[in-house]
């Protein structure tokens, strides 16, 4: 592994809420490195800090202390070093949600191409890329369908296509298989593994689904805001 392969480098990250007796430590000096092509799972009981860590890596939540480097770019070191965090998310990070969170007023194709539209792609090229991704994820035949008419599996695959649209190298997934049956969950994880390998991306997923643990390269356990093993 070379330093260039490190896509996520979190050093000494802490996050606490409140002060004095009401202080809650959501993260306590967490160190985490994720390399290109890696697919890792964040595990732990409710309140252990999984979602907080995901939000910190996703540049949604500012840590109280620590350093965050994404794809070779130091974005946080005691404070945010980038003012355009949304642009950073648009260019470097893809999100997959527990409930697919597709925009109900857009078709499957538009839900994917909207990311490219925001990134400034020409409309035609955006549509082509969206169709390409939907075909790759075997939902191309549902491109013109609105989310309400998609099955859970189809909607989740469209959501994955949206997360991958702008070719991000960091993909964050929050319970990506929670809405899927066991068979579909395995398929989605296999798909994510393939994408990580093909696009030299890394995937960090929060999950409780024991049936898919064997599909991850590493299982990161958190308890009371600390990494307990990996």
């Amino acid at each position: 592994m070379t330093p260039h392969d490190i896509l996520v480098d979190v050093q000494g990250v802490a996050k606490h809420y409140g002060t004095g007796e009401t202080r809650v430590d959501a993260l306590r000096s967490v160190d985490l490195r994720v390399h290109a092509g890696e697919v890792i799972a964040l595990l732990g009981p409710s309140g252990s800090g999984k979602t907080t860590l995901l939000n910190v890596v996703g540049c949604i939540l500012a840590p109280t202390a620590g350093r965050v480097e994404l794809d070779g770019d130091v974005v946080f070191d005691g404070k945010w070093l980038r003012s355009d965090l949304r642009r950073l998310r648009l260019d470097k990070i893809g999100f997959i949600f527990q409930a697919h969170n597709l925009l109900p007023f857009l078709t499957a194709e538009e839900n994917v191409s909207v990311v490219l539209d925001l990134a400034g792609w020409p409309a035609e090229k955006g549509r082509e890329r969206a169709r390409e991704l939907l075909d790759y994820l075997e939902v191309g035949h549902r491109a013109k369908v609105k989310p309400a008419l998609l099955s859970g599996g189809e909607a989740q695959r469209v959501a994955i296509a949206r997360a991958l649209a702008n070719r991000p190298r960091i993909i964050l997934a929050d319970e990506p298989t929670a809405a899927l049956d066991s068979g579909r969950a395995q398929l989605v994880l296999d798909l994510l593994r393939k994408l990580a390998s093909d696009q030299k991306a890394c995937i960090i997923a929060v999950t409780h689904d024991e049936k898919i643990f064997d599909r991850f390269d590493r299982l990161i356990h958190l308890r009371d805001g600390r990494l307990v093993d990996s």
Binding site: N55, G58, R86, F97, F105, L118, E175
Partner: protein, 377 residues
Amino acid sequence: MNLAIKDIRHGLFRFVLTCFGLGLLMTVVLAMIGIYNGLVADALAVVKAPAADVWVVEAGTQGPFAEASSIPADTRDAVARMPGVAEAGAITYQTIEATHAGETLRLYVIGFEPGHPGGPQRISEGRGLGTSHFELLADRKTGLVPGDTIRLGRDRFTVVGLVEDAMNSGGDPAVYVTLADAMTLQTALDPAAARVQTARGVGDLRPATVAAVIALLEPGADVALLTATVRQWKHLSALSQAEQEQLLLASVVDRARRQIGLFLGILLSVSAVVIALIIYTMTMEKLKQIATLKLIGAPDRTIIGLIVQQALILGASGLGIGLVLILLVKDNFPRRVVLEPFNALVLTGIILVVCLVASGLGVRAALKVDPATALGG
């Protein structure tokens, strides 16, 4: 990709229904503006009709509209001879009820001397009064048409022409008859009553009085000087046209005007609150989607555009529907509904401001949304 249009098309039925509801509200607002304007226009119509410069009325009165006024009919000759007066005409006003085609008509009878000021400015259909007696010109809203006959007092009159928008401040449509007929109508007694008066030896009861004399001045003549001169005759008073109009608005229709004006203000406030609530609620319903958009990298201008565009489309559609509806139904109102392009422009400005302020509240809420809420915690 225009997210605002996409969202509207997604929930088109609901959006159209909202626009229609707002359109109905705008119809009521526009109707109230039109009624307010109509009240003022109706009140001034009868004053403006003769296009007079000076009104000569009974001393100590503010006649003939705000108060009753009665002056000798031959005052017209005296006024006509005054320096600076180009023409003068005697005029009477009275309200009567008559029956036509089985319906009771409340009519505002204006008596004038053909060939002298006091008659209508324009006859839209038929001809003017051609004989001294028993012909009339009617406002179109009376429902009378040329050729119809109608009994006024003891005589039957034939409608020979129609005029537009001639009515008193109460909205009663006007009919024009000759001054002689009007004076007869004013004073002629029922036959039985007349016989009693004759038996008592009272004789002819017809006092040759009129309500006012109006004067048209020569170019350059001084209105103030003329009115001052007339007031030197102790039994007469004089008002300029502007004073007469102001008097009518300040006394005759003032309360009705203020009442409708206040109601219009309340209605506009209610509309503003309703529009603001609709837009705010529309935004609140989309907060999860807005959080998702922010999470995937949408800049603030995309979020603001989504909310403001929808607010403006909603406002414009509601106003458009309101304008179409009021134009379709305004002629069915019992009183005149007068809408000027200026009114529509002012209302457009108000709706624009309300939509922008309301969307501002929505934008404020949307920009505060934490993108993390899209992740579910």
